[in-house]
C-alpha cells in the first residue's frame, strides 16, 4: 500500500521489494482521512511521517486576517513531513482534499528503518530535494506569471508529477481542487480563477469534464506557461546507484 512511493522512487533509484519490506512491516501503519479532514494542524507537534497512498492533500498557511496560501499539493506517492525529524511544531496545516489514504510512521520508527538502509535513506532524502524543487517552481509561478499562465503551469506540473508516480498519464487530469483552493494555491481571487479558466477553454487549450481537466493542447499550454521541459526530469538529477 505504499506502491505509489515505490513507483516514484523507482524512477530514480534502484530499489526493490527488500528495501521496502522493513518499512511496511515495522514503521508504517495505514490511516484514513475524510474529505476536508485536518491531517496536520498548525502549531501542533509533528509526530509522524506520511506517505500518500491515495487521494490528494494540500499544505497551507494562514494569515492573521484569515487569508490562506496553499504552499503545495500532495499527490499519491508524495512523502511529508520529513521535517518532522527536526522541527518541533508545524508552521503549516495539511488538509485532505479528497478522501485520503495514507501510510504513516511515528518519527522514531521511521528513523530506525531509515538508518538500517542507506539506499532507502538516500531515496527519502531525494524526495525532500524534489519537494524543494517543487517549492521553487511555485515561487516562480507566483512571482512571474499571469493568472492564466499560473493555471496552465500548475496543470502541467500536476500531470507530470502524476506520471512520475506511475498514475495514469494521458491528457486527463483529475481535479478535485475547488476554485477557492486553486485561488489560494495560485495567489489569485476565485473570480479570477474562473475568468482565467474560461479564457483557457475559449482558447481550446483545456476542457473541463466532471471532476477533471482535459489538456487539449499541451504544446500550447507549455508555451503559454513557459513550462520548463526539464522540470523534475530524471536526467536533471543524478540517478542513484
Amino acid at each position: 500500500m505504499i506502491d505509489p512511493l515505490y513507483a516514484r522512487l523507482g524512477a530514480y533509484a534502484a530499489l526493490d521489494e527488500a528495501d521496502f519490506s522493513p518499512l511496511r512491516a515495522a514503521a508504517f501503519e495505514p490511516a484514513l482521512y475524510d474529505r476536508g479532514a485536518a491531517v496536520i494542524e498548525i502549531a501542533t507537534a509533528l509526530t509522524h511521517v506520511f506517505v500518500v497512498a491515495q487521494g490528494w492533500a494540500i499544505r497551507y498557511r494562514l494569515l492573521e486576517d484569515g487569508r490562506r496560501q496553499i504552499v503545495n499539493v500532495m499527490l499519491p506517492g508524495d512523502c511529508f513531513d520529513l521535517q518532522a525529524m527536526i522541527a518541533a511544531k508545524a508552521d503549516h496545516g495539511v488538509e485532505a482534499v479528497t478522501a485520503l489514504d495514507v501510510m504513516r510512521a511515528p518519527k522514531a520508527r521511521f528513523l530506525g528503518a531509515i538508518r538500517a538502509n542507506g539506499r532507502l535513506a538516500t531515496a527519502f532524502w531525494w524526495t525532500a530535494v524534489q519537494e524543494e524543487s517543487i517549492l521553487r517552481e511555485q515561487i516562480v509561478r507566483l512571482g512571474r506569471r499571469s493568472g492564466r499562465a499560473r493555471i496552465a503551469h500548475l496543470f502541467l506540473e500536476l500531470q507530470r508529477r502524476r506520471t512520475l508516480a506511475g498514475l495514469a498519464g494521458g491528457d486527463m487530469l483529475p481535479m478535485p481542487l475547488t476554485r477557492d483552493m486553486l485561488a489560494d494555491m495560485l495567489g489569485l481571487s476565485p473570480v479570477h480563477v474562473s475568468r482565467s479558466l474560461s479564457a483557457l477553454k475559449r482558447a481550446k487549450l483545456i476542457a473541463l469534464q466532471s471532476g477533471g481537466v482535459v489538456l487539449l493542447d499541451r504544446r500550447g499550454l507549455a508555451a503559454l506557461a513557459q513550462f520548463d521541459p526539464t522540470y523534475l526530469h530524471a536526467d536533471a538529477m543524478a540517478r542513484l546507484a
Copy 2:
C-alpha cells in the same frame, strides 16, 4: 572563517570548536567572487557545497522570455547547495550581490566530514529544513500580500535572519539589493517597488540611508506585513541535543 555558520548553528545546536575543525581543516577552502559574478550557473553540474562568510548572494531562475525570479537571498552563515549531494545539475543560478566571501567544499569531501560527525550532519540537515521554511514564507509573501506588505515582510525577515546569524541587529538593515533585484525577488515591477518604498517612507515606517534601510517602526511594519512572530524562532524548532 565559517564563523557566521557557527553562530547560526549555535543558536539551535550544541556544537563546539571540535565539531567544526575537521570542516575547516579538510573540507572547506575559501573563495572570493566579485560583485555581480556568477557563483553557480544554470544547467551546470553542481560540484560544491558553499557557506557564505561575508556578503550577499541571490538564487534565481530565468524564464524563456528573459524575466527573472529571485528565489531567495543568501546571507552570511547561509549554506548552499546541499542539494548538490543529490541533484546533478543546477536548475537555478547563484550570483554575488556584493563582493562575496565564501567557504566551499567539493561534495565528496563535505560528505566525508559530515559522515564522521553525526551532530554536524544533523546541524546541516537543520539548515536545509530552515531553508525550506524560508521558501514557504516566500510563497506566502508572493501569493497573499500586497506590494507594500511584501517589502515590509522581506525587510523584517532579512533583519531576523541577520540577527540569528549573529550580525548586527538594531534597526539598521544593510540593503545591497537594487530596485530591480527587489522587484525580481518580490514579483513586482521596479516601478512598483519604488512606489511602495515611497509609501513606506511617507508612512514613517522606514527611512533610506546610503546602502541601508532604517526600520523606524517595527511594530507598524509587522502589522502591515502580518509578520509571524514565531517565524524561524528557536522554540518553534526542536533544539538539538
